[in-house]
Subunit: 322 residues, 2 copies
């Protein structure tokens, strides 16, 4: 069955045709008419998926091994789709894809579907493609969707924001000199994990995180509703993984109880809408502002007769509702 | 002299009034009418500044100490302005600012002006504020401007892109598991530094970088014109710093010889223009698309009757040149 009709593919995928699921994901990754049709068919799934879990943290923190364990936990309560985000570069291609091999433990399990996604060179690409891929996986019948991101940059943080519950992974001994990174990760964390906790410094890392949470409690109102638990794990031998999964489930339950789950999902859709509109406007900028006008203003900027701010003002003044 | 008139401030700053320089930088950081006036007054400086050097790399790589050394090198040929970018978070405030203390060795030198800039919570904020700050520092008479960024995310890479010559700092023993980070850094590097080269693994790190450059040579045409040299330094005791500065100067000379310097600077201005327009459009989205229309479409999205892509298409169709 090699159809490229999204409706036909979706029906086949729901019956368990994994190739069809893969082709639907390719459609939303590629965009265009097929992507748009797939998006339209799967939009309702963002409400029906049971659990969307994000897993993020610095490179080398052991996220793939931990993801592998969490797939096992989630599998006990249903099917699992995984989006493994590869911030690989045009410079090296997909150097990181080798890491994914570890997750292939589940590759023979028809209840698990794993997909790697790479950045496509343009900013905003992944943060728009990932939520669509999550909806596809939900629409084909995955009960839990796990989003794994490598790295701690802004893009990864945006991607992790596509989850209901975000798990942030650190290791013992992450230095005092990464305060900024820590802060960025703490902001998005619903559950904190010190992985490789068999190494020296695990208890200190936990104290450190708890101290940061204490310090933040006064200024971050959300911490009064939910304080991210700090869980120690050794993904390699499975220590602490059950406790981690229990924390994820507990967070999901709390969200649902307080009506926050629906609100989080609505907010994510609105943010996705905003980003999509901005991306389209950015792609079409010279035409929107009038090609000739844009060229004329750009020439003034390059000649240093006009600064980019004033130039932007002039161009934006030429764009409006119609 | 507490004027807030940018023209008056600029004249005072050129005469050596450091407070006036600080206030001009605050104006471009804050934006608004004062920022716009400052931008207009300083736009020509992007052509006249002798050297804009970016310094970036992972947290803890010793960039501040290295920046301190490079200030000394640049000082031998003229005045030096420094923009130290702090990707600090609203969660912790400016936790990293303490690091800057090391650069205060130069705080009594009237030929050196150091400014820390923090992210202001919105994406694109820094990548727009930094080039403006560079122009202010150039306009008040700084011969060299050094941009130091902490971190290796997309925002930092964009910020580093505001430089003529970008120096990327790594340490011995940066793991094999950070291929993606490496690739991103290699893409922007004009000069590569293995700092803390007194530690074990420095030679291996250099071989590693050279091997990556070899591998990239076939597919990256720019490497035929300029292959980033790999320099070993120990910023703490100054070892290798002269060699590093020589590489920075050599890169600048090569750029100027091939007419690439003017082209790089023009390209940066055009990219800055594009980003500024996109940022303004993004800030004004609902009004541009028509407030009522935007609300109606957003409500359809939240109700899962319309996916964000189709919704964006509908909204973008309502925006155009006039």
């Amino acid at each position: 069955m090699r159809s490229r009709d999204p409706a036909v593919l979706l029906e086949a995928a729901r019956r368990g045709d994994r190739g069809a699921t893969g082709r639907l994901l390719s459609l939303v990754e590629t965009g265009g008419a097929g992507g748009a049709a797939t998006a339209a068919l799967t939009v309702a799934a963002s409400a029906s998926v049971r659990r969307v879990v994000g897993l993020t943290g610095a490179p080398g923190a052991g996220k793939s091994t931990l993801a592998d364990r969490l797939i096992g936990c989630a599998r006990a309560e249903g099917t699992v789709g995984v989006v493994a985000v590869d911030p690989s570069s045009p410079f090296t291609g997909g150097a990181i894809l080798g890491d994914r091999v570890r997750m292939q433990d589940h590759s023979d399990d028809p209840g698990v579907f794993i997909r790697s996604m790479a950045t496509r060179g343009h900013l905003g690409g992944l943060s728009l493609a990932v939520p669509q891929a999550v909806r596809v996986l939900a629409a084909v019948g995955m009960d839990t969707v796990l989003i794994e991101t490598v790295g701690v940059g802004q893009v990864e943080i945006e991607v992790a924001g596509a989850a209901d519950t975000t798990v942030v992974v650190v290791n013992p001994g992450w230095g005092d000199d990464v305060q900024a990174t820590k802060a960025g990760l703490l902001e998005i964390a619903d559950v904190l994990v010190v992985n490789k906790a068999d190494r020296p410094g695990a208890a200190a890392a936990r104290r450190d995180l708890e101290a940061m949470l204490d310090a933040a409690a006064a200024s971050v109102p959300a911490l009064a509703d939910w304080r991210p638990p700090v869980v120690l794990t050794s993904a390699a031998d499975g220590t602490g993984v059950d406790e981690l999964w229990a924390a994820v489930v507990e967070h999901g339950t709390r969200l649902a109880e307080h009506g926050q789950l629906a609100r989080r999902r609505s907010d994510r859709l609105l943010e996705e809408l905003r980003r999509t509109v901005v991306q389209r406007l950015a792609a079409d900028l010279p035409r929107l502002a009038g090609d000739e006008r844009y060229e004329r203003v750009a020439a003034e900027v390059v000649a240093h007769r006009l600064d980019p701010q004033l130039a932007a003002e002039e161009l934006v003044a030429g764009i409006g509702g119609r």
